[in-house]
């Protein structure tokens, strides 16, 4: 899409989120200083997202697609899988959110060091990326593979001694950041594109969803290898006050984080341009520009998110906790949750691809509505269970069981899309803003459980809503076809 049009769309999309925060701020908080940082945050968030989306469009997506189709063209399964493993490994290893996963490791496997846990998670992503690529080539049913691994994980979670294990189900989303999501998505689309046959459309998706299983299994395995007593979780968060200076101070950190995240893609680009593929000069220039935009866009985005929204989420959460009104807190959380989907850059990327999916006839608004609903439910449930001290597993395990059941009736494309959404929904806004909000609103003495409950719910609800959407759309389409056939029969019938 043309840049000014994207910018218009993203600013409008970020508006309700900002406006709601503004209103909540006016009603709940005594000091009004944070209002300006909200406005600045909105500006940075929406412009950063627009720049990022443009970069993804011209750089990361075509690069991933090119890689996927070129590798499939070489007709060597080992080469294809090896590439997916290496790419998945390094992209994950440079992921800024990997630090969040370190908390999990501390809980599950206190014996494991930070480096080994990062390596295990990255290897998990790489392994499942390779498996997912092999699946497309070998034409193994995605539903079967997903069912197999989820039953394995759910069974493991039920048998595990700590209930914490079940919360791992969101780990896949945390491990896949905004740089990894478009590349992995495009890789699958590229492999599916060179495939003849009718199922190429639904095969374009599902790679992300499968890849998301990697970190979960890696963490489970780490827990089994390095068991031990948990000695208290640490999850450090940097607080930022809403002044101009605080925005400026955030820039170097964003630059560094995103620079590291973009590094593997840059190395890949250099490899593609020089040795691996026959890229034309113009293509190299375009990919480079795209990568640069994606990098710059994310820097702007994160600066806005951290400077404008994170502190706000924390303050609002505290204020909501003080009101001591569970209904209001839950309602506010649900509304905010519904709107986070619109400011999550990874959601935009997936949605644009879903809309263009062949044979899907998927509307942007349908998917957004389903995802908004998912996020609202996830936030609401997370808040309720955290405030009432319920075990989140009581929701998560039946939820996954239902999701697997729905996949039997759901069109293949939507099942793939649903599992991809489960990974995509957990983007920077969920990880940074919702974390601040939910943990402080529920006034949790110990934040990790509440947060991971939230993440696991965020990974679970889209599986339900997107698949239900798929089933409903399929029914409607069949009904339309029948009606149309009936209409055509009508004139003759009257005769």
């Amino acid at each position: 899409m043309f840049f000014p049009e994207i910018l218009k769309k993203t600013s409008l999309a970020a508006l309700p989120f900002t406006a709601l925060l503004f209103l909540l701020h006016l009603f709940l908080l005594p000091e009004k200083s944070g209002v300006w940082s909200l406005a600045a945050g909105w500006l940075l968030l929406s412009s950063g997202m627009a720049v990022f989306i443009s970069g993804v469009d011209i750089g990361i997506l075509p690069m991933g697609q090119k890689a996927g189709s070129e590798l499939a063209n070489r007709r060597s399964l080992p080469l294809l899988c090896a590439f997916c493993f290496v790419a998945g490994f390094f992209i994950t290893a440079s992921e800024p959110h990997l630090g969040i996963l370190a908390v999990w490791t501390k809980r599950l496997a206190p014996g494991a060091g930070r480096l080994s846990s990062a390596a295990a998670i990255s290897a998990g992503v790489g392994l499942f990326a390779a498996l997912a690529a092999g699946r497309i080539v070998l034409q193994i049913s995605l539903k079967k593979i997903l069912t197999f691994f989820y039953i394995l994980i759910l069974g493991g979670a039920c048998l595990a001694e700590t209930p914490f294990t079940g919360l791992l189900l969101g780990a896949g989303g945390v491990a896949a950041g905004p740089m990894a999501v478009p590349f992995i998505l495009a890789l699958g689309m590229g492999i599916a594109a060179v495939r003849g046959g009718s199922e190429a459309g639904s095969d374009s998706f599902g790679l992300l969803g499968l890849t998301g299983l990697g970190p979960i299994l890696a963490l489970l395995l780490l827990g089994a290898i390095f068991p031990g007593e948990w000695s208290g979780g640490v999850y450090e968060r940097k607080e930022a006050a809403g002044t101009l200076l605080s925005f400026l101070l955030l820039i170097p950190a964003s630059l560094k984080e995103m620079g590291i995240a973009a590094l593997p893609l840059l190395v890949l680009l250099i490899l593609f341009g020089t040795t691996l593929f026959n890229l034309s000069r113009l293509q190299v220039i375009r990919f480079t520009k795209g990568l640069l935009y994606a990098f710059a866009g994310l820097c702007i985005f994160f600066t806005g998110l951290r400077g404008g929204f994170m502190a706000e989420g924390n303050l609002l959460g505290n204020a909501l906790a003080l009101t001591d009104n569970k209904a209001i807190t839950t309602l506010a959380g649900m509304l905010l949750g519904a709107m986070t989907v619109w400011v999550e850059p990874t959601v935009w990327v997936l949605n644009a691809r879903a809309e263009a999916a062949p044979g899907g006839n998927i509307s942007h608004n349908h998917i957004m509505a389903a995802l908004s609903l998912s996020a609202a439910c996830a936030t609401g449930l997370a808040l309720l269970q955290a405030m009432n001290g319920l075990n989140p597993l009581c929701l998560i395990l039946p939820g996954y069981a239902l999701a697997l059941l729905l996949s039997i009736f759901c069109p293949r494309l939507f099942t793939a899309l649903a599992f991809d959404s489960g990974v995509v929904m957990i983007g920077p806004v969920t990880c940074i803003f919702m974390l601040s909000l939910v943990t402080s609103a529920a006034a949790l003495p110990e934040r990790a459980t509440g947060f991971f409950g939230l993440i696991a719910l965020f990974a679970m609800t889209p599986l339900l809503f997107i698949q239900i959407l798929g089933i409903l759309l399929q029914r409607k389409q069949r009904l339309n076809e029948r009606r149309r056939a009936g209409k055509e029969a009508a004139p003759a019938g009257r005769q």
């Binding site: 899409m1 049009e5 189709s69 080539v137 034409q139 293509q283 003759a492």
Partner: protein, 247 residues
């Protein structure tokens, strides 16, 4: 009697291809239906925005939809009138519509109630759809279609632009796998193609073709193929409608 009565027809007609930003194809459909056309088919592609700064920044591509509408001869004027005056279409930031001569349109229609069941089937061999059609007005433009292996569209577009083509639209496409191709775990690997269409004033066609022919990447056999079709009418749609097309 519940049998649906249909009859086939084979008549001359016109093909109108409209190009509008992604998601706006429905507006075209509504306008042409009002003018008497029956419907259309939407393809997705990416076009280029004519803006120098955007091109330098590499941000000049725009997702577009191509609407193919077959119209019966006689309502062509009404269709173009509708496209030019429809309020929704006038608001579009960019768009274009072109007219190509469709030599014969074969279709099957439902007979209106009351029509006799004995209406004879059209015999395609005995009908000359062009008979009685006045000679078409002189075509001023040509639709150049380039089908090339994926990855060359950028170069092709740049070369064409250098030779005077105002812009183009790219669609992703697939080639056909050949029977003798080695299968990859039962999958036929099909070559990815890009389907590029450019509307060019007739006097510039040869310059554009030459520019594409001279591209180093087009020097091998089998990299791409090009064909040209006459375009009798080409108009801008939306906000840029009034602007002169030929630069």
């Amino acid at each position: 009697m519940n049998e649906i009565l249909t009859v086939s027809s084979y008549l001359p007609g016109d093909l109108v291809i409209s190009i509008v930003p992604r998601g706006q194809g429905e507006k075209i459909m509504r306008a042409v239906r009002r003018a008497g056309a029956r419907g259309g088919t939407i393809l997705e592609g990416r076009g280029s925005v004519n803006n120098k700064l955007a091109r330098i920044l590499g941000l000049d591509s725009r997702a577009v939809e191509l609407v193919f509408t077959l119209v019966d001869s006689g309502i062509l004027e009404a269709v173009f009138e509708a496209l030019a005056t429809d309020e929704d279409i006038l608001k579009l930031p960019e768009g274009a519509a072109m007219h190509l001569n469709a030599r014969g349109i074969l279709r099957r229609e439902i007979l209106p109630p009351g029509a006799r069941a004995e209406t004879p089937e059209t015999d395609i061999f005995s009908v000359n759809p062009q008979a009685g059609r006045s000679a078409m007005s002189q075509a001023k433009y040509e639709l150049i279609t380039v089908i090339a292996n994926t990855g060359f569209s950028e170069e092709i577009m740049e070369a064409a632009r250098g030779a005077g083509a105002p812009g183009g639209t790219i669609m992703n496409a697939k080639g056909t796998g050949r029977a003798e191709d080695v299968k990859f775990f039962g999958i036929t690997i099909v070559p990815e193609k890009e389907f590029i269409i450019l509307v060019v004033p007739k006097n510039k066609t040869k310059a554009v073709l030459k520019a594409i022919q001279d591209l180093p990447s087009m020097s091998q056999a089998g990299v791409g193929i090009i064909y040209c079709l006459d375009v009798t009418r080409f108009v801008q749609l939306g906000k840029k409608m009034q602007r002169e097309f030929v630069r």
